[in-house]
């Protein structure tokens, strides 16, 4: 049984560019949450998707957007990248309250 998978593993982008990160949830899970983890910090909740709708958003600007597909996989899009967007982006899948994290995508903005 595959766990949560994310792609790509690493990504380097330039300020002002746009990026798309991808997540496939654990089998049987229908909810995907995205988190940003800055170096040396705990993950910060970005938003959650369920039934292809954004259900809740944390304290992140509209430059951060997402999508969930009928197969429950999800994308995180970030527009107009800033240096401060450099972080590990984590996807977590769930069916109820327990959330299981993927390995993350390391985004570096130069």
């Amino acid at each position: 049984d595959a766990g949560v998978t994310q792609s790509p593993t690493h990504l380097i982008k330039t300020r002002g560019q746009q990026v798309t990160l991808r997540c496939s949830p654990k089998s049987g899970h229908d909810t995907v949450s995205w988190y940003q983890q800055a170096l040396g910090q705990g993950p910060q909740f970005i938003f959650q998707y369920y039934e292809e709708e954004e259900r809740q958003r944390g304290n992140f600007p509209d430059r951060f957007s997402g999508h969930q597909f009928p197969n429950y996989s999800s994308e995180l899009n970030v527009n107009a990248l800033l240096l401060g967007d450099s972080a590990l982006y984590l996807c977590a899948s769930s069916r109820d309250v327990e959330q299981y994290f993927g390995p993350g995508t390391r985004l570096t903005v130069t």
Binding site: P43, R55, Q56, L90, Q99, G104
Partner: protein, 114 residues
């Protein structure tokens, strides 16, 4: 505003000893409290979680103690091993809040010395 405060920031324990990490929360709507273990370059892995209807939960060498009146909970790692060396995060959530995400502490870097 940090809603989950975690301490200590770093901790060194001798092999075989007990590692203790503490967390305090502010939001009384929180009713689900998990602990995650994260190794460098990896995503957080769910270790153990507790609900406020019990004061303690044990799974193997890991125990969560919960004090609802003090709004505090802690992770105890018994017989700590070098392989336990990692960063540990406490988190909290309002499970009745539907789409609420987890609120994490800032993490504790644990080193188990052989």
């Amino acid at each position: 505003q940090q809603q989950v405060k975690q301490s200590p920031q770093s901790l060194i324990v001798q092999k075989g000893g007990i590692s203790i990490i503490n967390c305090a929360y502010e939001n009384t709507a929180f009713d689900y409290f998990p602990w995650y273990q994260q190794f460098p370059g990896k995503g957080p892995a769910l270790l153990i979680a507790i609900r406020p209807d019990v004061s303690e939960k044990k799974e193997g060498r890991f125990t969560i103690s919960f004090n609802k009146s003090a709004k505090q909970f802690s992770l105890h790692i018994m017989d700590s091993q070098p392989g336990d060396s990692a960063t540990y995060f406490c988190a909290a959530k309002n499970s009745g809040g539907g789409a609420d995400g987890l609120t994490f502490g800032k993490g504790t870097h644990l080193i188990i010395q052989p």
